[in-house]
Amino acid sequence: MNETSQFVLFPLGRKRFALPAEQVTELARMDYVHDFPSNTRLVNGVLLRRGEVIPVYDVAQVLVGDDAPTRKFYLIAKRKFETVEERTAIPVSGDCELTSSVLLPPTGKLAVYVAGLLSLEKEIVEVIDLEKLTSEVTQ
């Protein structure tokens, strides 16, 4: 059965990716990143937003490699750690868009963190599974 779901499309340079809309809580302007030593890959520091500490998770390095463009906004999304849910700021390079589409199953050659594909009017967009992306980079 082809059920339509909502997704948030976010750009990283010329390419767009998507997250399930229920995972996204906010789109925020660039803000000061408080950084301190850590050795978790892709976590660049934290944002302080209304008293909440939000880790910055820069997925561009994995999704578009060294060509990662200048990031202009943060897409703030929920991540689940066992029983705990936490918000994460994902730097993105431009405006985000809400769309409704059918999630198509990923094909064999895609990265393991691609949860599925969205076939939009002019593009095919990869839907990212943040948990799988994290375990992929920590391996």
């Binding site: 850590s38 976590v43 880790p55 936490e86």
Partner: protein
Amino acid sequence: MRPLRRNQRKPRVHGHAVILFTIGETTFAISASAVSEIQSLAEMKSIPQRQFGKVRHTLEREGRRYWVVDANVQFGILPTHSSRVLLLSESPVAVKVDGIERMTEIVRMLPLPKAFQGDEQNWYAGLAVIDGKVMPVVNPAGFLSHHELNALEESELRMVQTAETAEATA
């Protein structure tokens, strides 16, 4: 009607005293109760056999020997100009840092976000917001594990025994 008391103050929120110290451009906090003394580097002695890269010196204080952890190595910060050593109160561990910024109080400590999955989970007890800046509050037990401390003690014991044997045979 009772007159308003001019000196009536808001109840004071009691915080937790912390010492702010710096390594390079990063400011860290440590619970003041975890530090027994702050020293200069003058009394540090080099360790001839280095078991761990982060421990290169010892320091004697009131008959007690402290293993000095180089905080730059611990936190993966490039070498900077160290000038102070924090002697920890609960273990024979001292921490070499660039300098002491000041003492202050924090009202609450925030947990380290779960997104941080590396060694920092052991390095930090949590985060504090001080003057609008997020700072890591170091975990005093995270500088040297029991296993590392035992290994250092054993290695020193072996060195003493070897020196005594050499002396006896001379």
